[in-house]
Amino acid sequence: MHRARRLWWVSESDGGPGGGRLVRTLILSLVIALIAACGNQATDDTDPAADGTDDTTAEGGDGEQVELLVWVTRQYYIPPDDFESFHAEHPNIRVTYDVQANDDILQQFLRMADAGQKLPDVLGAEDSFLIETYVEAGLIPPHDEIFAAWQEEDPELYDLLLPLVWEETAVDGVPHGASITANFDALYYNPAWLEEAGVTVPFDSLDAVLEGLRAMKAARPDSIPMTVQAQAGQGVTTLMTMLAAAGTPFDGPVPDLTSDGGQYTLNWFITAANEGLLPPEAIAWGEDESRGAFVSGSAGLILDGFTSAGDFNEAPDFDFGEDWDLTPMPLSQSGGGADGVALSQARTWAVVEGTEHPEEAALVIRYIAETQNLIEAAGNGSVPMRQSEALNSPELQEIWPFFNEDLKEAYLNSQPFPAGPNAGETTAILEQMFGEIVQGTDKTAEELAAEYQPQLDATKS
């Protein structure tokens, strides 16, 4: 019976010693296979050619074929020709890019670096406030030599860039990237609503904005004069922009809510929310709902990033000048001299540490900074540039007819967005406070500051 049921792989012999040998042989084969697999892995780690990136490296010397990988957080920061003219200018360099999730790109870098994997050659980061963390992690090298070479080889282009391009990425006084473009917030308004309420722009103070909202509410009692986004996880750019405009001092990303500017801003929002000038539902609104309320004509005013202007400009039946317009954020509490500053959120380009082709990678950054590429990227949905020629170009004016002199001036005078490694924690606390205000609170500005400032200060440690 047993012989009849013998399986094909069992030895024809009586079984005893033969079966044992087979078991041992199988175990031995398995162990050898495992060792071989580990051996291959070790080879992969050390041999770039074995990990599928063999064509990204090349031997040194002139005329070598170089492949560069760019990681960027938004497609529209890449010039629309997808580096075609760059390839024509540098036939030995081929650039490919990969769009990475903005909220995970640093972690992705860290994981890959920990695993000893090949990193991209160029980084296009949206969260420039994390540059210091990238530097601390050894992911971005000092760029002083790279930029010195740029200045020497292409002084014309170098000089077109504003000083903030280098200053914003400075760690211990040394630049670690180029913040070539930056977004900034402006006040979008519905011209018909303002006209109806007898409100004129530009606003000369934050008090004037509040008065304008009251006038709009009086003209349209059932309306939402101003829309904001206050959903958890969506950030507090509106609040931060107001805090800065009112002259609040910051320690990294932590605002001083007890300061004159901090108290003014809290009072401003408490008043606006309690008078029904902000929608309480905004606590559940992200940018989609917030912008949707403005575009659909449900709200008369919105403080939003400049990227929205490009989107609004392309929206059907939503005409610039007729249905929407924009004006700079006033930087004074009650008029007179400026109390605060406008903020801009930079997008930074940097050569990644460990790239085998730092000079070629630097050429990619130069290419991004070229006037025509910046203008074309702007037309593709990108943000304003810190490059004087592109900024003043008639072609840009054609693409962005709403980018008037007032806005340009505000942009040129803007300061970097308050940042630091504790920005995430700070934002979560401010979101909580902002949500409380937007929903309507009985607390005073002093009470809110007393409650939240210690939490904010704790993130500094």
């Binding site: 069992v10 175990i27 959903q231 606590i283 559940a284 449900s298 490694p421 409380e436 929903q439």
Partner: protein, 316 residues
């Protein structure tokens, strides 16, 4: 009983008992190690793919980094002590309890309702059983975005529908209590198909003779369900409960995309707290402590469900 007695009692149609043949003991098919040997690749694969990351995560929860990129320092259970001392953790625990309990109750009741309905569905409508699976194949993040639009207080369809009846719909996602209800409803919507399929499968395996006998005894539909069908469905209800509980306790996609943990942290569940600590505060080791706690809580809850289920398993 002796072997001789056994032999005498053997009937003609029965096979003779097989004698143990020790000469074949070492053949591959009979070696004691053979089952383990064949299982070894799977064991190695499961250990590498599932076991190692879990154990590594638990191990890393015993470390801390002063800054994101500094070297990890072994701190023992300090992350756990810090976690248990944080008010936000206990607040998240409370919300998670509501979330899990709510999802279990709503999910089980709806699961039973739909399973009964689909079991009794007429021939021409049996395709509905397949259609039921549709929500399961939709990403829960996509579902959450869909529900976010549906429950928007300004232009959502739900409030528009209520408006037709003269009802002024609430601010679903802006009100902390309503937001939790919407989150539970959305989570159940994404998880329900599997529960329905499990319960439907269970209903199909119930011996019809029990139900026929009860009909003869004059039992009503509810009596049959209460005393026959549901008790016999206990094994499937147990699996459904474990599934719903696990899915809700670890569920992040729905909460993240629907409310982001708001308003005012009203839907900040444990999974959401873990995400916040990891990806906003960039404190990965502390987040792993929360993840480990969720893992243990899941295991404990599952064991509890199994223990309770066994008490009511009438087929055992």
């Amino acid at each position: 009983m002796t072997a001789a007695t056994a032999r005498t009692r053997r009937r003609w149609w029965q096979r003779p008992p097989q004698r143990p043949d020790t000469s074949h003991q070492l053949q591959l098919g009979h070696h004691r190690a053979t089952p383990y040997l064949f299982s070894l690749p799977s064991i190695i694969l499961v250990a590498a793919v599932l076991g190692f990351p879990v154990l590594y995560g638990v191990w890393q929860s015993l470390y801390d980094r002063e800054r994101l990129v500094s070297d990890p320092e072994f701190v023992g259970f300090a992350n756990y002590i810090e976690m248990f001392q944080a008010d936000t953790f206990w607040q998240s625990m409370g919300r998670t309890a509501i979330f899990v309990f709510g999802s279990l109750v709503v999910g089980t009741v709806l699961g039973l309702f739909f399973a009964f309905a689909l079991f009794r569905v007429v021939e021409g409508l049996r395709f509905l059983r397949a259609v039921t699976v549709a929500p399961y194949i939709i990403s829960n993040v996509a579902a959450a975005v869909m529900f976010r639009i549906l429950f928007n207080s300004q232009f959502g369809l739900v409030n528009q529908f209520l408006g037709w009846f003269g009802i002024d719909g609430p601010s679903w996602l802006a009100d902390p209590n309503m937001a939790m209800l919407v989150v539970i409803f959305t989570q159940v919507w994404t998880d329900l198909p599997l529960s329905i399929l499990l319960l439907l499968g269970g209903l199909m395996t119930i011996d019809q003779s029990y139900l026929d006998a009860s009909l003869v005894d004059g039992a009503s539909g509810w009596t049959r369900a209460r005393y026959i069908t549901i008790p016999l469905l206990v094994p499937q209800l147990l699996i459904s409960t474990v599934w719903l509980s696990y899915s809700t306790l670890t569920g992040l996609g729905v909460v993240l995309a629907l409310t982001g943990g708001g308003p005012l942290r009203a839907t900040q569940t444990l999974a959401m707290e873990m995400y916040t600590v990891a990806f906003r505060n960039l404190e990965f080791n502390q987040a792993l402590a929360i993840a480990t706690f969720i893992l243990i809580l899941n295991a404990v809850l599952t064991l509890a469900y199994v223990a309770i289920g066994r008490r009511y398993d009438y087929e055992r």
